[in-house]
Amino acid sequence: MLSRVAESLFWMSRYFERAENTARFLDVNFNLLLDLNKISLVENPNYWIALILVTSDRDSFNDLYNEYTARTVTDYLVFNRNNPNSIISCINLARENARSVIESISSEMWEQVNKLYHFLQSSAPQTVHTDPSGFYKEIKNASHLFQGITDNTFSRNEGWDFIQIGKYLERSDNVARLIDVKYHMLLPENRSREEVIEDSEDIIQWMAVLKSCSALEAFRKVYLSKIDPETILQFLILDRTFPRSINFSVCAAEDALWRISGSSRHRYVNNADLLIGKMEAELSYTSIDDILSKGLHNYLEELEERLMKIGEQVHLTYFAYHTPEIEPTEIEEALPFTGIGGGRAIWSQAQQQQQQ
């Protein structure tokens, strides 16, 4: 398949997943504040700064707003078009990518992307503030529906595998970020682990982390009511059966990569396969104690770094296909990965073409 088509499918899927995860973070944060019964403290900046940290663009946020409040953070993460990771930007990009491969996807998939796009275009910030959970539920459901439609209408060919890789790489990255930030907030250096477990407010916060991954019920089935940070981390990072855990997502991405290249265990044919195989193996043979003794933050940071490397290798292997003697492509030129390259210049030139 054309590299560009593969790339657009990958990014369409990735942006959709990113939008869904952002909606989850925001939804849970609202709920959390209600759970804590701190309505008066809804504006407490600490609870909102965390969301900006998850998407890690604190500087660009500070350029636009003076304070971390429900309103500013929601505006930035949902509606701001200058924030490339806002929900509206992600869905715009998912749609642009879908449009550029419209002949390769099913018309039902296209309709679903379109529907969410129009929903967001017509949503006013006010509706989010009056009914946040309704609004975020709409987005989550739209994403689920899109995945279900894809599952039922898209042939299981290479394109399908690129869609899976995009989705699961994005998901493992997002979960890693979420845990990292919450862990920072909940486990400050100066508090002992016992102290944290005692504190019921923190338990509620950890439950919120699970909820944002739709993991609370699945978690309870495994660990009953034993909610403590270790078991939660064990579940979100290492569980092999829960579809939003890091380990599960990495396994799923690995499967898809291997289907494309024909790699198998102990036999890889390119760097992307090598790196994902290594990560999967390590996740499978790591215990939560290994992770904690390394330091959770260090562990997660490294994990995010390595996920990014895998993304780069996928790009170099399949999308930026080049033969060095024809055009030596520097990886910097191949970046940034958005799927839609060229932006404004292409836009204006494409319009100039005289279609008689």
Partner: protein, 482 residues
């Protein structure tokens, strides 16, 4: 029940009406259609309109209107009443087009080789050599089969007496063929019964015919030619059509960045490596095709493409530099061109044309701006034109200035009252809308013309401009067997 056609005013004293002759009776080939439509109630029409709207929306049949920042996608307006062409009239159009396209192709071959017609002073050399579409780089290059214009779509109109005339030759990248195909599908879905009464000649094989034509121009050494469509991308107004044609032909839709040239061969970049390309149906303008030869800032083209083409390793449809022959100034020479190369009289007439570059014509144009249609020689899509009778004095003055400043760029024609065809207004009543006809001509080893084409309708009441960018719509077009 509303009798749609009984309330319709044909105004045959002012216009040529496609359905009703001047005595007020319907033309024979419309009899059965009228009979059918008489049985429809407004509710029937509404229901069928709904079927068609859903059909178009689901297919995503949209076009983009320029001038708005992000570009707005709209459904292409469709009129429910088909236009019917009797077999004998169609035969004349067909013969006329074959003649015209053959002559224009010879003309292109000549001006890119020996330039005999310029030496014989039938066409002034400065008009060709000074044209912005003349591709100097391309002189002496032999396109496969000697064909330059593989896909064309001439615009044909009828004047007050109903004679068919060519208004414009579109020899670069004519668009709209996807609407022709979709209109037919929509009609079949909404009015199956009406179809049964007529022997409508099929057009559904267009994608196969197009593919065959493209395969025919492939480099001869390539057994199973790999054909691709080259699109400027999703921001182009005709992107829907590009993806539609690629899907219908079963070939890849590519953008410039999907293609790469190595050792004068063109390849697509795929997830499995490079794949050789033999024929490119390109919907990108000449000047954007290859940044090494034309505009260096082009983001839509492929570096090295033109050299690969010159070497004969890849075929382009249409060839480079065909715009020089569909320029509105050259248009006025087409009857002479036909006589020069074929020794025949033109079967399809031209619309009389005054050239602003010609001093006596210029004087006439400036004195009669209020009654003429003035067109810029190189624009298309209904942009850059002045419709005299519909213009204000201010607009006329502005155009006069532009014409005097750059006479080579302007021509003028009398305001032709295009023929009219009953069309629905709000699905409740009918009124006469001006129409034209764009048949699509394929030229490979032979010339193939699909029976019919796209009938464009100026749906704005009284308007003469049929372009989709200016509020036009379209109709299904039926060529019927005897």
């Amino acid at each position: 029940m509303i009798r749609f056609f009984e309330q319709y005013k044909a105004e045959t004293d002012r216009f040529f009406d496609e359905v009703f002759s001047s005595n007020g009776n319907p033309r024979v080939h419309y009899d059965k259609l009228l009979h059918r439509f008489r049985q429809f109630s407004p509710e029937d029409i509404k229901a069928r309109r709904e079927i068609i709207n859903i059909f178009f929306r689901n297919q995503g049949i949209t076009f983009t209107v320029y001038g708005v920042d992000e570009g707005i996608e709209r459904i292409f307006p469709f009129d429910l009443i088909p236009r019917i062409l009797p077999a004998d009239e169609w035969k004349t159009i067909e013969r006329g087009l074959v003649q015209r396209i053959t002559a224009l192709n010879e003309f292109l071959f000549d001006i890119y080789h020996t330039q005999k017609i310029l030496k014989d002073k039938v066409v002034p050399a400065e008009l060709i050599l000074g044209s912005k579409h003349f591709a100097r780089e391309f002189v002496g290059v032999n396109p496969p089969l000697g064909v330059y214009i593989h896909i064309t779509g001439s615009d044909i109109i009828r004047d007050r007496n109903g004679s068919y005339m060519v208004l414009e030759d579109n020899l670069r990248t004519p668009s709209g063929v996807s609407y022709m195909l979709q209109n037919r599908q929509a009609m079949k879905r909404a009015f199956p019964v009406v179809f049964e009464k007529y022997k409508v000649r099929p057009i559904e094989n267009y994608p196969q015919e197009l593919l065959r034509t493209l395969q025919e121009i492939s480099p001869p050494s390539r057994r199973e030619p790999n054909v691709v469509v080259l699109t400027p991308g999703i921001y182009n107004s005709a992107y829907f059509e590009h993806s539609f044609l690629a899907r219908q032909m079963g070939v890849e839709l590519t953008e410039g960045k999907d293609l790469v040239v190595n050792d004068n061969r063109v390849y697509t970049r795929t997830t499995r490596g490079l794949e050789r390309v033999d024929v490119i149906y390109r919907r990108v303008d000449d000047s954007f095709l290859d940044p090494l030869v034309f505009r260096p800032d082009s983001k839509l083209g492929v570096a090295g493409l033109i050299n690969a083409y010159r070497k004969g390793n890849v075929a382009l449809a249409n060839a480079i530099g065909t715009g020089v022959a569909d320029d509105k100034v050259i248009y006025s020479f087409v009857p002479k061109i036909i006589r020069y190369y074929l020794g025949e009289d033109p079967i399809l007439e031209n619309v009389p044309t005054w050239l602003a570059s010609n001093p006596s014509d210029l004087k006439y144009i400036l004195e009669n701006l209020g009654s003429l249609v003035v067109k810029s020689a190189n624009e298309s899509g209904g942009y850059g034109m002045l419709v005299g009778p519909e213009s204000t004095l201010e607009e006329q003055e502005k155009f006069a200035e532009m014409i005097v400043a750059n006479p080579r760029n302007y021509i003028a024609q009398p305001t032709i009252s295009l023929s009219r065809h009953p069309s629905f207004h709000n699905d409740t009543d009918l009124y006469g809308c001006h129409i034209d006809l764009r048949p699509y001509v394929l030229f490979g080893k032979t010339i193939t013309i699909l029976p019919g084409g796209l009938t464009r309708v100026a749906l704005k009441r009284g308007s003469l401009v049929v372009n989709s960018s200016q509020g036009g719509g379209s109709k299904d077009t039926w060529v019927i067997d005897e």
